[in-house]
Amino acid sequence: MKFGIVTFPGSNCDYDTYHAVVDALGEEATYLWHKEHDLRGSDVVILPGGFSYGDYLRAGAIARFSPIMREVAAHAERGAPVLAICNGFQIACEAGMLPGALLRNASLRFVCEAVRLRVENADTQFTNRYDRGQLVTVPIAHGDGRYTADDETLARIEGEGRVVFRYVGGPGDADEWWSPNGSMNAIAGIVNAAGNVLGMMPHPERAVDDLLGSSDGMGIFESILSRVAA
């Protein structure tokens, strides 16, 4: 299977993502420069983390107008998988591929640490290798990760099971909602209505090897592989 990893000016997790796909998963990957008009046969598109366009105006606001995004949107409309990580999640929201927006962390601080997530929906093409309710450890590294949506949108995505990952494990109860950035309902990751676009602030590509603290992120890449290959 071929993964296309989009590189915007300011992306900085594209190499880590490439490593996760090629070295950890053992699949093919190609970098897609943001000015290209062709996904070069990619089965899966990944919008990686970073600071595209220096987060000018708002995080992700300029990147959504990059030429490649037209192809990424068409790819998503065909029902093909898009994994949008961190800055990629911000871009996907700005592009209208996912509902809501990511705002400055409530603490006003950049947060870089391993967090615990609960898998809220294990029936998506990104999470079928997990069990519902499973706790996984994946790092976050962002300054603008506070998921925000209007009440109606929030009720809809909760009701439709589109909240895929939630932050848990604050001081006290390991299973309670707890948000490191002030996200509504401690939301860490959501899918679109069709279920083929996943946006998440945590970095699964940084959790693909026990040597680096966790390999819990592999489940996402393996899930994509098993679903698309099936």
């Binding site: 708002r58 929201c93 927006a101 006003l108 506070r146 949506a149 002030g182």
Partner: protein, 85 residues
């Protein structure tokens, strides 16, 4: 065609948590400005453009705000002024 300068205020949507505004509010109170009730931190943009008249300049700027300059999910905007250059 004339040239106009259009000023736009963009602020966090009312009711949304605004941690920057709260931090500035607290700092002002610490400085002794006890009367401060609330502060909201947003952006101020100045767009210079050619248009037939001020109304057209304002209309075009609103369009820009809806499509790029502001994010309607989280921000409100207002055209603060339109001046002729």
């Amino acid at each position: 065609m004339s040239r106009f300068r259009v000023a736009v205020h963009i602020a966090p949507r009312r009711g949304l948590l605004d941690p920057q505004g709260k931090a500035v509010t607290d700092a002002l109170r610490t400085l002794g400005f006890a009367s401060v009730q609330d502060v909201h931190v947003g952006r101020h943009l100045v767009v210079e453009m050619d248009a037939a008249d001020p109304a057209a300049a304002e209309r075009t700027t609103r369009d820009m705000c809806n499509k790029l300059l502001a994010n309607p999910v989280i921000e409100d905007f207002e055209i603060a002024s339109v001046s002729t250059l």
